[in-house]
Amino acid sequence: MKKQLGIVGIIFLSIGSCFAGNPDSTRVTDVIDRSLQREEYHLIFDKVPSLLSVWEKGDYALISTGFSSSGGDYVHPQLFFSKNLFEIKSESVKSLPVNGWRFFGSVAYTNGNAETGKWNMSYNLPTNGSPYYYMIEQEGTWKSQSYDFNVAAQKNISGRLSAGIGLKYLGDLHFRTFDSRNDNTTLKIQVLPSLTMNFDGKNYISIGLLYQRLKNEPNISNKYQHGTEPEKYHLFFNQGLGTWDNSPSQMRMIDSRYGALISYRKFSANSSFDAIYAIDYGSEEWLLKSLSTLNNRREDISRYSYFSHDLSLRHRSVTSSGSFVTNFDIKNIHGDGAVYKESTNAYQDNYQFFSITADLDVSYIRSNSVLRQLSAKLRLDNSSQNDYNYGHILEYTNLEGTLSADVISGKNRAVNLIFGGLFSYKMNLSGNHNPMAASSNFFNTEIAIPAFAYHTSDFYRAGARVCSEFDIAGGYRLDISLSGDFLKPIKLNNYENRSSFTLNDKYYLMSLSLCFNF
């Protein structure tokens, strides 16, 4: 009951604030600036809620709805060959300067369907490096829904001290609609309390804590008798790169994550600088749903523990002609997996994961120019997996560079039109796949080889977007955006004859969104 009241409160906070206060049109020029405003919130203030005390972008509110569609054969062999999503979202920042409060609220609902590739019984594969997921050879079709609630509150304790707390309640429902079935529910709860100290009105130091609990509850069943290829419907539980359980029990997963962060913000008249460093420790456990005391079985069958480091830097400087925004983010995850062996009544360590991703993004946003925005991005992605039960190593490093530009047609405040384009190229810098004792294991032949071929392939991406926005009744502003991306592989660097795609395949992404701004 308390949880339901809490959710209702979050909804009112998010939506109610949309209809209050002055519109932000005097502060925000167009969709480019509006995107910058939201980007700054999600990169900085979402992580350090107490920093909302220095939120300089003004209140805003929006309700948006959109549809996105993606599909193609140039995709990771276990992931989405097609995906269609409908989303409706509300987001707002609301200040109460008299009382020293500032709030952020966001509610989002998505509904869609997807087709996943082979050896995926879990919809989304783990993103924290964990090797644990249910898998089945037969491709699947899915229906999905998600409910995301996100609120933050900040209060000035004194002239120098500010406290804040962020709460997230994210629920996903993924239903596999093709035998074998999986009614998979995921619930993530995140709490971020933080404190910010203002030293001289220009320098701010914040500290914060993170607690996150992710519960994943698969419910696997068969509704109809299978066809004559029962091997395609055999359920496995993956535990490494060749280590798997071929008679898995029904399990649930609990991932508890604890973290701390420290951040520094420096203000001046024409620039701002933010640095945030966060360190997290997470422990993911897979627990048997039904435990028989007669068999004296252990409850937790697999466990994965990991450390995550994240350093984010953001610099913005304002000149007479525009502003430069530089974002740099580097993230590292280091994890270890172990499976419980009944034969020895002990956990056997078998798996290691290590990854570094680094993103550098430089944008020049011009105020009074047809060329509204120019940006260049660079992304480095390094990943290494090691199943030392088999000596199976899989590692690669990729570099992707992107150039994009947006032009605006005139400066008509009532209506404007923005055209944007982007081009990116992803290049594989290195790759090493050595299956050793797992060379004949079906994980190597069916999953590792095609996935490695995909990860180490080079591709180019071309994209375009058209945005238009105009005033509507009540002083509000509506923006409509249509965008599309197209990916095509250029080079297969490994396993040319055994990849799941060819150089003739492609992947597309399209989205249409409608946003009412208040």
């Binding site: 008798q225 640095a275 050793m436 004949s440």
Partner: protein, 416 residues
């Protein structure tokens, strides 16, 4: 904070991450060293250049290495797991004559099951090659898993097995026995427990049938097979779209109701149907008191036994404590041929036949769950003679000698 300190901080952080990235754990792989020997009966057979195969019972991967002249095969970079180890050597008729006294080719085999290999361990095992002269009559096919796509109208009522004459002379089926071997559990379920009784001198039967006849009434010509059906009914006619068989032309069928009634027991008229046009097998032993019939287990190991012995000694199943279940003991020396069909590739502990009869075992699906798939285990063809007669593979190792087919193929090797 000064800019230079921030740069140093970032550099230090990246250095820490980079250094921690280098600490990749070394593979925890092991070594298996296999030494071949021969039984006393085959002492002197050369043991060099023999293929030794190991099978990882968890992921079903196989690796084969040839022995050196000393009979040693070394497997390096092996993942910790549980392994089955097997080796076989075919002796030509000329060489076999020196050991068996029969001028007939023979395959000698050796097999070890469930050898546990821990990380970074070197395991040393000795395998002893042994064998017996191949039989003239062999089990050609066992179809026990039941029909598929039949809406459960047939289930396992269409089971059959087939005996084949693999020699070049007429053989007689009269008075030969067929034994269904125990235990019924074959490693499908996680709670299945192996029987635990020794297989050196005896095997253990839950059901025994006997061919009728007085001695020469039921000949089987060379290259011909005889089908023994649980029910001699045309199930294809009953369910044309199902994966099932036409058993109406079986040479023999089983019918237990009359026999059970004569013993004061009851049969099962739902599953046990008699075709009056097909000769019945003689009922010898059935360890179910009432409602029993001569169906095979899902994963059925069966043996063809000589006609001479009379079976009287039973033994209680030591693994069943909730009731008393008895099996008939059958001397290994009386077995003509046998095939061990188990649930899945990791079911070696549930073998029902000793290695001298069947040094391996076979299964329909690596990971089990083969019930009602319409699949059948059939002996492979070693060669086809100019006359069209087929000679079937008989190395006394069903791991190599049998293949999976669907649907089942009764009398498929017959000349006409």
């Amino acid at each position: 904070m000064k800019k230079i300190n921030l740069r140093l901080f970032i550099t230090a952080l990246v250095a820490v991450i980079t250094i921690s990235a280098c600490e990749k754990k070394a593979p925890e792989l092991s070594v298996i060293e296999v030494t071949l020997a021969t039984s006393a009966a085959f002492d002197g057979v050369a043991i060099g250049n023999i293929p030794v195969e190991i099978t990882n019972t968890i992921d079903n991967t196989k690796k084969t290495v040839l022995t050196n002249q000393a009979g040693v095969a070394i497997f390096e970079d092996i993942a910790p797991s549980t392994y089955n180890i097997s080796a076989s050597k075919e002796l030509t008729a000329e060489i076999a004559f020196n050991y068996t006294g029969f001028n007939k080719a023979i395959t000698i085999n050796a097999n070890l099951q469930n050898i546990a290999v821990m990380p970074l361990q070197t395991i040393r095992q000795t395998l002893t090659l042994d064998g017996k002269a191949g039989g003239d009559l062999v089990i050609k096919e066992v179809y026990s898993l039941g029909a598929a796509n039949d809406g459960y109208a047939i289930m396992f009522k269409d089971q059959f097995f087939e005996i084949f004459n693999n020699s070049d002379e007429t053989q007689y089926l009269d008075k030969l026995y067929i034994a269904y071997l125990s235990p019924s559990k074959a490693g499908q379920g996680s709670t299945d427990v192996p029987l635990g009784l020794p297989l050196t001198s005896f095997v253990y039967a839950s059901k025994i049938l006997q061919f009728p006849g007085t001695g020469t009434q039921y000949p089987l010509e060379p290259g011909m097979g005889a089908v023994i059906a649980i029910n001699a009914i045309n199930y294809k006619e009953l369910k044309p779209l199902a994966l099932t068989v036409d058993n109406s032309t079986a040479q023999f069928d089983t019918y237990a109701i009359t026999w059970l009634q004569s013993l004061g027991r009851t049969g099962n008229s739902f599953f046990d149907v008699d075709n009056p046009n097909v000769p019945n097998m003689n009922c010898i032993y059935l360890n179910i008191q009432n409602n029993g019939f001569f169906n095979m287990d899902d994963y059925a190991s069966i043996a063809l036994v000589k006609s001479g012995p009379v079976f009287t000694e039973t033994i209680k199943d030591p693994t069943i404590t909730t009731s008393e279940v008895f099996y008939m003991k059958i001397p290994v020396s009386e077995i003509i041929d046998g095939v061990d069909i188990l649930a899945k590739s990791s079911s070696a502990a549930f073998k029902r036949l000793p290695a001298v009869i069947d040094s391996g075992f076979t299964y329909a699906q690596e990971n089990g769950s083969a019930n009602y798939t319409g699949k059948s285990l059939r002996r492979k063809v070693a060669k086809t003679l100019a006359s069209g007669r087929k000679v079937l593979q008989d190395s006394n190792n069903s791991s190599n000698d049998f293949e999976v087919v669907a649907p089942a193929t009764p009398r498929s090797y017959n000349l006409n």
